[in-house]
Symmetry: C2
Subunit: 118 residues, 2 copies
């Protein structure tokens, strides 16, 4: 492939967090490590299926760590990896960007009667 995004790692970063619930999960884990059930409570709208799926993707991308305690009943704890925490830091720039321009809605459907350029 030779898409323009191949040059900048931005696309790769977005790919990792564009999932429907990824940001919520990362935000929650950014607060503290959580068990599976605790995450469900924190994000009530998500289904078990999606939570498990998104967590596995985040784990595959090296953003989330998964620790299994072979107790009974089962216990699994999720936490951010170093990389995941670094993402939260990097995301801060985007946070400030979003807040900076928050309520702008200027219509720019302007029509120009310009000379033919090329």
């Amino acid at each position: 492939m030779s898409k323009p995004t191949d040059n900048c790692g931005f696309a790769a970063a977005i790919k990792m967090i564009e999932g429907k619930w990824k940001v919520d999960i990362l935000c929650e884990l950014g607060t503290a490590s959580r068990r599976f059930g605790r995450l469900r409570q924190a994000i009530p709208e998500i289904s078990e299926k999606m939570l498990a799926q998104q967590l596995r993707e985040l784990e595959a991308d090296g953003l989330v760590d998964r620790k299994v305690y072979p107790e009974l009943p089962a216990k699994v704890v999720y936490s951010l990896t170093e990389r995941g925490m670094a993402l939260n830091t990097a995301a801060d720039a985007l946070c400030r960007w979003a807040e900076q321009f928050s309520p702008v809605a200027e219509a720019s459907t302007q029509v120009y009667a310009a000379p033919a350029p090329s």
Copy 2:
């Protein structure tokens, strides 16, 4: 709603650029202003429908400016707004993050101790 992401503008930022081709378009417009047809050439895999649709969404979010020249044949030029350019700046942090931990192919299945990739 009361999701954890409501507090940080990060989710809002992601929403604006999580479209399948948004990053490509923004990257391309980050280089220079482009006409519709020129964008299609730059991103060959995208269909006309998606390009038009994504551009309208980006315009609605105030990231892209659309200038119509009522010539014949029609001519429309797209460019980044101030906000769009600011996004590219903010995205830089994410770029560096992605590159920092980039494709570290730490194959756990790889057992040999031989060096020398040709």
